[in-house]
């Protein structure tokens, strides 16, 4: 076993850490809450090649590994960054897998594409992530994977201040049908679950840091509140869970890169366990803030809302555990 990042991966992490520190500080996150998207941040991310890196070299990209993408997603989550990184990467990868010429528009930056995580129902793909800031959305309509231009998208306010929209799917372009379409969709979903897990783990780890810093400094009854076991012991549980979740997410990314037969199972487990770990850590950190925890002025509420909202675009932890069990035991 080797848990060390390569020198290139260290550089990758450093580069994104610096980018987010500069372009996604908490005030920028707040400013972007209405639309859920910071175009300047996105253009910086694009400048670092977040789409290219997600695409194989033979399709015109840079061929980063899934583990590389997970490392970037983790930094993304640490800053609860208001840019739809994961959906756009996953959509681009699906286009590549479909060998669709539409990938060129995405790589060139001419078209921005996202992906619906649930099939269309009655002509509408509900709550599509990043749809309100996308030109096109990949949607599974019946047995066909379609590219739908987002004209009929209706954005809505939501817990996570995300650029979600319901997208009418009539008149989309069919890119692929049948078993292949379903398979590409499921693979894209695996990737979304995995990268979202990584983002949530970054989010949870940072939320825990915020809570620990607060508990170290805040004095009550003459002592720092972090000395009370009622606070410190749940924090310790979160620290262990997040370390474990991170290892699990990395293992899942590695399994995707190595194409092992546990990739789907591990991605779903990482999503479910990572969601729970981030949810608990951010709730605990928010709670130790006392009344400050639910003031919009404090950063911790930004973390808690996204810890709850990001995974919910697809589903809750029980859904992830069931998906993992289906991968492990076969669907019935």
């Amino acid at each position: 076993m080797d848990l060390r990042l390569s020198a290139e991966q260290d550089q990758l992490v450093d580069a994104f850490r610096s980018l987010y520190a500069k372009h996604a500080p908490p005030d920028r996150v707040r400013d972007a809450e209405l639309v859920g998207h910071d175009p300047e941040l996105w253009s910086q991310l694009q400048g670092l090649g977040v789409i290219e890196m997600a695409i194989d070299e033979d399709r015109g990209g840079w061929g980063a590994s899934m583990l590389d993408l997970a490392l970037v997603a983790e930094q993304h989550g640490r800053h609860v960054a208001p840019a739809p990184l994961i959906e756009r990467q996953v959509a681009a990868r699906a286009l590549a897998r479909l060998e669709s010429p539409r990938l060129d528009d995405v790589l060139s930056g001419d078209r921005v594409t996202s992906i619906a995580l649930h099939p269309s129902v009655d002509g509408v793909a509900p709550a599509v992530p990043a749809a309100s800031v996308a030109d096109d959305v990949l949607v599974l309509v019946g047995d066909a994977l379609c590219l739908v231009p987002v004209s009929a998208g209706s954005a809505f306010e939501n817990l996570g201040s995300m650029p979600l929209a319901d997208v009418g799917t009539d008149g989309g372009e069919v890119l692929e049908g049948g078993a292949v379409a379903r398979q590409v969709f499921e693979t894209a979903l695996d990737e979304w679950l995995l990268l979202t897990a990584a983002a949530l783990i970054g989010l949870g780890a940072r939320a825990l840091e915020i809570g620990v810093e607060y508990a170290r400094e805040r004095i009550a009854f003459g002592v720092p509140i972090g000395s009370f076991q009622a606070l410190s012991h749940p924090f310790a549980d979160s620290a262990a869970a997040l370390d474990g979740a991170r290892l699990l997410a990395y293992e899942a990314a590695w399994a995707v890169d190595e194409d092992t037969d546990r990739a789907r199972e591990l991605a779903a487990l990482a999503f479910a366990f990572g969601s729970e770990s981030a949810r608990d850590a951010s709730y605990r950190s928010l709670h130790v803030h006392g009344g400050y925890g639910f003031m919009l002025e404090y950063d911790i509420q930004l973390y808690w809302r996204r810890a709850r909202a990001w995974p919910a675009v697809w589903g809750a932890p029980p859904d992830g555990y069931r998906r993992a069990a289906d991968a492990r035991h076969g669907r019935r």
Binding site: F221, A230, G291, E297, A316, P318, D319
Partner: protein, 380 residues
């Protein structure tokens, strides 16, 4: 034993529900939601007309003089509908302290005005550096002849932007040990030197921070003895000891059951299991709170029954609202204004609202410590 609340209570409940259905129109609800302020003069006027405004107050003081069970039924129904009561219920709590500890003038002028809902009082206990540890208040009150000079700041002074008075805990004697050396005042909020700054919260509710810069008040603004503020405060906080969020869990379950019936999800055994779990939390939260009322009615001194009702109801609301959010799936993300929002966004809202309930009126940690020490006899 008898778990019926009685015919009086049942008909009172029915009357309340009828009034609330009529008074809390969608427009009122929307206005309240958008303003983030739990106060509506028209609505309160309707309550006053019906004798439901200050139900626990004796009639000679301008109240309805109702028995504890009726008071509780009113509490359950108003809160189940999230009626805009916060500004006035805090004012009544302050008025109660004035009756006991206030000057004659306060009792003559302010108390009746509160009971007519013409005067709003807000709490000024918590400070930026003193939350659960209320006795650590640092806002200074320095005596200068017949006046006091006040400097400092107070947090979570909800409704200060529309209030008339702030019920203020100050440190009058820094040399005394923590709980001594505190003095309480009733200070007009339009007083020079007072600045009210909005603070917005995750549930949409607006609260405030209030700054005091060289605020001079006469000694007649004082409530209770000099350096005797802790006993004034303790008496006031007794009411908070019966805080319960049971009615909110009732509402949560009603909304989720309606969603489950509308969508057909109610046929799923996993959904049923989770609904059953919330039904148990509803029942237990209501019973723990009703036990307090029964004890009051019987004149039995309460020990940790209040903390148990508060702890269980707020922790259950927090857990249940998150569990229901998970149950509903992606649609649960939609907030109030979205027409597609599940049950008008009420469930998503309650998850955010719940976050505060384990904090204010004594954090869950404070409640657990009280139960452990006073209830179970565990050592400090």
């Amino acid at each position: 034993m008898d778990f019926r609340l009685g015919d009086n209570a049942d008909s009172l409940r029915a009357a309340l529900r009828a009034y609330l259905d009529e008074a809390l129109t969608d427009e009122v609800e929307e206005r309240l939601y958008r303003s983030g302020v739990s106060h509506d003069a028209d609505f309160i006027g309707g309550l006053i007309d019906r004798g439901w405004f200050a139900p626990a107050w004796s009639e000679d003081l301008g109240g309805a003089g109702l028995d504890p069970t009726s008071v509780m039924v009113i509490f359950e129904e108003l809160n189940r509908r999230e009626a805009p009561m916060y500004a006035t219920s805090v004012s009544l709590m302050v008025a109660k302290a004035l009756v006991k500890f206030g000057t004659d003038e306060m009792r003559r002028e302010i108390v009746p005005a509160v009971l007519r809902a013409e005067t709003i009082c807000v709490l000024g206990f918590t400070e930026p550096e003193a939350g659960s540890d209320v006795a650590n208040a640092q806002t200074r009150a320095v005596r200068d002849g017949d006046e006091w000079m006040i400097n400092g700041s107070k947090m979570f002074t909800t409704n200060a932007q529309l209030g008339d008075y702030i019920y203020l805990l100050t440190r009058s004697n820094p040399d005394e040990r923590k709980h001594r050396g505190l003095t309480t005042f009733l200070v007009p909020l339009d007083h020079p030197g007072i600045e009210v700054q909005a603070v917005h919260t995750i549930s949409g509710e607006r609260t405030n921070i209030v700054y005091f810069n060289d605020v001079r008040v006469p000694d007649s603004a004082r409530i209770g003895d000099v350096d005797g503020g802790w006993s004034v405060l303790t008496a006031s906080l007794m009411d908070e000891q019966m805080a319960s969020f049971a009615p909110w869990i009732v509402r949560l379950l009603e909304e989720v059951e309606a969603w489950a019936a509308e969508t057909g999800r109610i046929d799923d055994p996993g959904v049923r299991e989770r609904l059953g779990r919330v039904a148990a939390q509803v029942e237990v939260a209501l019973l723990l709170r009703r036990r307090c009322t029964w004890m009051d009615e019987e004149g039995i001194t309460r020990n940790v029954e209040g903390p148990m009702a508060k702890l269980f109801s707020s922790e259950s609301l927090t857990q249940a609202s998150q569990d229901m959010f998970d149950l509903i799936g992606p649609d649960a993300l939609r907030s109030y204004p979205d027409p597609e929002a599940v049950r008008g966004g009420r469930i998503e809202y309650m998850m955010r609202f719940a976050l505060g309930t384990t904090i204010y009126a004594g954090t869950s940690e404070i409640q657990r410590t009280q139960i452990a020490q006073r209830g179970l006899g565990l050592p400090r």
